[in-house]
Symmetry: C2
């Protein structure tokens, strides 16, 4: 349809969760204790972020299967298969994770967040203010 | 930090809006009449989407400047500059747009949506169910 796009990750998630099967469950139960560890090259882009801010973190779900187009919702084989675009499955052609989280603390390039559902080592692609969720100002 | 990621767009936005400066304003005023035009290769992934569904559309903001790390919020020069990660600016290292919209109608590979703030020809990267915004099931 159009030309490919090259993303350069801006950091990595540091998380106690290493098993993908546990990541979703732990987020339900509250707040896995995670850090966004950002690249020194993007330090100026963090200016203005403060503890208490709600942000949207976009990740690259590197363990996902990009060839999957249909799934059983929530992995439940008793439910009929449907297209991945009608689900929140991590498996999809361009497996980007969208996570709304709250900043707990910031230490230079390390941003402590609450409620991030991602395994340790997940690449970070973008961080946005969570205000005005329909806007792109 | 980690290796680069190659995205293959899954479709293009068809919109009456061709001027980026107008895109944001028009969304504020209601509903620019847009279509998601998807690639035949991903047809099975659309299975289960219905008019009335709320979806999250991820786009590639192809007109954005990837070298920008700090901006005046909302382009207002009277406001102090801040890091792009603390804003919704389209300018940022990996300019992905996140848009929550409602499906009006579906005609095979063409999905009619309401309230999408993107210029004509914007590449589409992903479509997700808008349910469970904190989850990645």
């Amino acid at each position: 349809v159009t030309s490919d796009v090259l993303l350069r990750p801006i950091g990595l998630v540091e998380s106690p969760v290493t098993d993908p099967a546990l990541a979703a469950r732990q987020a339900d139960e509250g707040a896995p204790d995670c850090w966004l560890v950002l690249d020194p090259a993007v330090r100026p882009a963090l200016d203005g972020l403060r503890p208490g801010d709600d942000i949207v973190v976009v990740t690259w779900l590197h363990l996902a299967d990009r060839t999957v187009l249909r799934v059983h919702p929530r992995g439940d084989a008793s439910r009929p298969m449907r297209g991945v675009f009608a689900t929140r499955s991590q498996h999809r052609p361009n497996p980007l994770g969208i996570h709304q989280v709250t900043i707990v603390a910031i230490d230079d390039l390390r941003v402590h967040v609450q409620g991030l559902e991602a395994v340790d080592g997940t690449p970070i692609i973008d961080v946005k203010s969570a205000l005005e969720p329909r806007g792109q100002r």
